[in-house]
């Protein structure tokens, strides 16, 4: 009896902590979205109030949609994010498969080398990357961003996926070999579906920093045609005057696509878990 009551108390405590954390995490998002629907005066008068009949104003959104090529910025961000994500998952999974599946000289060292990138921030190499991009004529192209983000995302992807791939039944892969499947078929048809939850995890962890990044778009691709949404929003932040309505509206809009991508992957994640690997 006391055991049961204690576990209820414990679960209330756990939920309390989680709810508190969620509120703290979501508060900035909430403030951003709420204020994006208010007039400039209302934002400064009562930043925490919900938009009422007087304070409701879509001027921010109107500015954003009028100003510049916002649709183009969105498209750029999407292209860069989805492109990088695709390459990170593809190459990361392939490298992880090789590391976990094949015995070769220097396997352990290679794994360590590939994982080292987790600890060394890619931004340290910004100058060299910029020189490289200038030399290869890739400045102000989305390709430059995709390449850099792929490099940035790979270490974590290789690290997480190779751990998961080690757990995929060796018997299953061997059964495939005996039945005459190629290594590529074994990789794509047998192993990848079984590590889908891990892929979703890696996708989410890779996706968010890329979408939110300001650094590399600003340095490598600041031209009008290649601006990403985070960079595009900066036009409303001036040295002396900041158009808060527009900034908040732009940021609120920027949340939507990443939210959709996240929902897609998290559903995959749940499906991957509930489908269950056949052992």
């Amino acid at each position: 009896m006391s055991q049961a009551r204690r576990s209820i108390a414990r679960s209330i405590a756990a939920h309390g902590v989680l709810i508190l954390w969620t509120v703290i995490a979501l508060f900035p998002v909430f403030v951003t979205v709420v204020n994006s629907f208010k007039s400039r005066k209302a934002i400064f008068a009562e930043p925490l109030a919900l938009p009422g009949p007087e304070s409701f104003d879509l001027v921010g959104y109107a500015t954003v949609l009028k100003q510049g090529d916002f649709f183009q910025y969105f498209l750029n961000s999407m292209t860069v994010t989805v492109g990088s994500l695709f390459f990170v998952l593809l190459f990361g999974a392939m490298a992880a498969f090789a590391l976990s599946e094949y015995r070769f000289r220097g396997n352990g060292l290679m794994g360590l080398y590939l994982a080292l990138g987790i600890m060394i921030p890619i931004r340290l190499g910004t100058v060299a990357i910029l020189q490289l991009m200038v030399a290869s004529g890739l400045v102000n192209t989305l390709t430059a961003l995709v390449l850099v983000y792929t490099a940035q995302g790979l270490p974590l992807a290789v690290f997480i996926l190779s751990e998961f791939m080690r757990n995929v039944s060796a018997d299953l892969k061997n059964a495939g070999r005996i039945d005459g499947l190629s290594e590529y078929t074994i990789f794509f048809k047998l192993v990848l579906p079984l590590v889908r939850p891990a892929m979703a995890t890696v996708a989410v962890f890779t996706l968010i920093p890329i979408w939110n990044d300001l650094w590399f778009p600003l340095i490598l691709a600041p031209s009008e045609a290649t601006k990403t949404i985070t960079l595009g929003s900066q036009v409303f932040i001036g040295q002396f005057v900041t158009n808060w309505n527009a900034v908040l509206a732009a940021l609120s809009l920027a949340i939507v696509p990443v939210l959709i991508l996240y929902l897609i992957f998290s559903r995959q994640l749940i499906r991957g878990i509930t489908a269950g690997a056949v052992k």
């Binding site: 018997d171 059964a175 005996i178 005459g180 048809k189 056949v278």
Partner: protein, 333 residues
């Protein structure tokens, strides 16, 4: 069609020698069981025959053709795994037909082959299901079906019954034996369970630490073991090993099976006390703590009443005893 020859086969992982020179011939149509304690190299040896592990030295040949460097799919073998290893994304029918499909066999032929295998294993009603919708026993039958469909020269079984519960294990064991009779194919079967080895094999290969200890028919190994390892490994409950010196014999160790130890309340060669009694209905196992020989097992047929701590005397049947020298090798004659 399907004789396997291993000559001086070795396998090393780095500096560790796992298989230390195995010579073996399995005749066409023979059921050969590799048995030994875990870590003896039996699974590695099987995987080398399958082509899943490289051969470090020596030759593996099927029907006289050296296959050391042939890909697993080209060796005309099929394998049944302990963990079933069914493809989770394919139906039972597609699981069974995949190898033929990869080999480019026409659809109608695949259909016929899978139907035939399904009939043999009564898998008919399950053909459209996926592995996740099957029970453990059904999954293992599908895995066996997948092996049959290929019509291989050689069937390889890697501890196929270890994941099944006791009742299913017996049932599937009988099914595999029946299959071997019906197909007349060469089968190589790895297990650590000496009951499976005894009941299924035409030929048992007892392995220890990467070496073959003895090869022979089940009853040959049981009645005529070469050394203490084989004598102790084959037969359940285990053979008793007595210190021969204490009995006034010239050999080092006297091996006696539990059923050949006579137990008496009145008199006998070795005195001791009953430490535990297991009644199985058809037989009774009496564990006796002796003064001079440690714990010995006695197997009696039928029901017998012995009380724990009761004083008893044991006498080995000298005619059925085995003599071993100090190195554990059998002294014959």
């Amino acid at each position: 069609m399907g004789a396997l020859t291993l000559s001086k086969v070795t396998k090393s992982f780095g500096t560790t020698d796992v298989i230390k020179g195995v010579d073996l011939r399995v005749e066409d149509g023979e059921f050969c069981v590799f048995v030994g304690p875990s870590g003896c190299g039996k699974s590695t040896l099987l995987r080398m025959i399958a082509g899943l592990e490289d051969v470090t030295g020596g030759d593996v040949a099927i029907d006289g053709v050296r296959i050391n460097d042939l890909a697993p799919a080209k060796r005309e073998i099929s394998m049944v795994f302990q963990s079933y290893a069914l493809y989770p994304h394919l139906t039972v029918r597609d699981n069974m037909g995949l190898a033929l499909k990869q080999a480019g066999v026409p659809k109608a032929e695949i259909q016929a082959a899978t139907d035939k295998a399904a009939a043999m294993l009564s898998l008919g009603p399950l053909m459209a299901r996926r592995p996740a919708e099957l029970s453990g026993g059904q999954r293992q039958r599908v895995a066996i079906g997948r092996a049959i469909v290929r019509r291989p020269k050689l069937f390889l079984f890697d501890e196929p019954l270890s994941n099944l519960d006791a009742a299913l294990r017996v049932q599937t064991r009988i099914e595999i034996a029946r299959l071997h009779r019906d197909l007349g194919a060469t089968m190589i079967y790895v297990t650590h369970d000496q009951v499976e080895a005894m009941t299924l094999a035409d030929k048992i290969v007892v392995l220890r630490a990467g070496r073959v200890e003895q090869v022979g028919r089940p009853m040959d190994l049981y009645n005529d073991p070469d050394n203490t390892f084989v004598a102790g490994f084959i037969g359940s409950p285990q053979m008793n090993f007595l210190k021969a010196g204490a009995l006034g014999l010239r050999s080092d160790t006297l091996g006696i099976r539990p059923e050949h130890l006579e137990i008496s309340r009145a008199s006998g060669l070795i005195a001791g006390r009953v430490s535990h009694v297991e009644k199985l209905g058809g037989e009774t196992l009496v564990y006796v703590n002796t003064d001079t020989q440690g714990l010995l097992t006695v197997r009696l047929f039928g029901e017998h009443d012995f009380a724990v701590e009761e004083a008893v005397h044991l006498t080995p049947d000298q005619a059925r005893a085995f003599h071993f020298d100090a190195a554990g090798l059998r002294i014959r004659g």
